[in-house]
Symmetry: C2
Subunit: 195 residues, 2 copies
C-alpha cells in the first residue's frame, strides 16, 4: 500500500560519520522537503567486518517497511562496505564510492569521488569526509534538494563546527555537479561509458 519508495543506503566503517549523514539526509527530505521518511541503523555481526550502514527511505506516502530492500542509491565509504552492499542495489541504481578508500570498485555503474582526500586537502579535516559525501548524495538523490539538506545541517550541527561542516557539504555538492548525468543514464542502460 506504500507509494513509490526511494531507498538510500549509506555505508562505511564505524567512525566515518555515516549515521549523522543519514539523519541529515532524512531531516532534509522530511522536515525541509515535506516527504515521509524512515531512517534506520541496524547493528549486527556484519559491523565487525568493518561494514556498517545507515538507511533512509523516502516516499510521498506513509512508509510501511522502514529498511532498504533494494537500494536506489548506495554510498560506500570503504572497501568492506562496497564489497558487501554493492550487489544489493537496483539495476538502474547509483553507486557512489569514496575512491580514497575503495581501491576495487564494483564493475560499471559507479561514481567515484575521493571524499576523504577532498576532506583532507580542501577542508583540512579528514573526519569531514561524511559531509563532503552528504553534499554529493544530496545532489545526486532525486528525492531531496541540496537546499533542504543544507537547512537540516544548519539546524542540527553545533554552532562551533557549522562553518567547517557547511564548507565540506558545499564542496561535495560542487564535485557531484561535475558529473555528467546524461552519460550516467546511458550507462544504466547497459552501456559502458565511464564517468
Amino acid at each position: 500500500m506504500s507509494g513509490r519508495r526511494y531507498e538510500v543506503r549509506l555505508s562505511g566503517s564505524g567512525g566515518q560519520g555515516i549515521i549523522m549523514a543519514a539523519i541529515l539526509l532524512a531531516e532534509g527530505a522530511a522536515v525541509y522537503g515535506g516527504k515521509q521518511v524512515a531512517q534506520t541503523q541496524s547493528y549486527g555481526p556484519e559491523a565487525r567486518g568493518g561494514a556498517s550502514k545507515a538507511e533512509v527511505v523516502i516516499s510521498n506516502e506513509p512508509i510501511d517497511y522502514p529498511k532498504a530492500l533494494v537500494p536506489d542509491l548506495l554510498l560506500a565509504m570503504n572497501q568492506a562496505s562496497c564489497d558487501l552492499y554493492s550487489k544489493d542495489i537496483k539495476r538502474e541504481g547509483i553507486i557512489i564510492i569514496d575512491s580514497t578508500n575503495v581501491g576495487q570498485p564494483p564493475p560499471g555503474r559507479t561514481i567515484a569521488i575521493p571524499f576523504t582526500g577532498i576532506a583532507r586537502r580542501e577542508i583540512g579535516k579528514e573526519f569531514a569526509a561524511n559531509m563532503v559525501a552528504l553534499g554529493a548524495v544530496s545532489c545526486l538523490c532525486p528525492e531531496v534538494t541540496e537546499g533542504a539538506v543544507e537547512a537540516a545541517l544548519m539546524a542540527r550541527v553545533p554552532p562551533g563546527t557549522r562553518t567547517l561542516n557547511l564548507k565540506a557539504f558545499k564542496t561535495g555538492v560542487k564535485e557531484a555537479r561535475k558529473i555528467d548525468t546524461a552519460k550516467l543514464r546511458h550507462r544504466y542502460h547497459g552501456e559502458e561509458a565511464e564517468v
Copy 2:
C-alpha cells in the same frame, strides 16, 4: 523467526535530543552489549503536533521488523508524545515521563522523573535532559547495562561536552535507582501502588 524482542520508544518534541539518546542506547546494547539492535526514526505528519519518536529494538537474534510494534518501554519527554504514544505500550510495559513537561500523565504504570528540571538544577543545562533520561532508561531497561551505554556515550560524544553529558547520564542512573521496582512489578499486575 525473530527471537524475543525488547522494544523501546523514546519520544518528545524535536530539539529534545531524542535521536541522540536512541543512538547511544542502541550502540550500548549492540557494540558494547553484544545484542542485535535496530534503531529507527520515522518522520511524518505527527511530528508537526510536537511528538517525534526514535525507536530501539533489541534482540538476541536477527531482527526482522526494525520498528517498535508494542513497546516494552516508553519514554515521553513532553505532553504531546505522552498523549500520542502511551496507549500503544505493552500491558506490563514501563512508561517513564519527564514530569517537568508532562503535567497529565497516563493513569497507572508510570514512572515520573523531572528530567528537564534535574538537568536545569543539577547540570546547569536544560538541553542535557536527554542524557539524564538516557541514564534512567539504561537503568530501567533490562536489555542493556548502564556501563555499556556509558561506554557508547564516551565513544561518541565530542570530548568538549563529555564531562557534562556523563554527569547528566550518571544523575539519571542515580534517580532511576531510587525507584522501587518491586512496587512497580505489583502495579503492573493491576494494583494501584504509586511510584
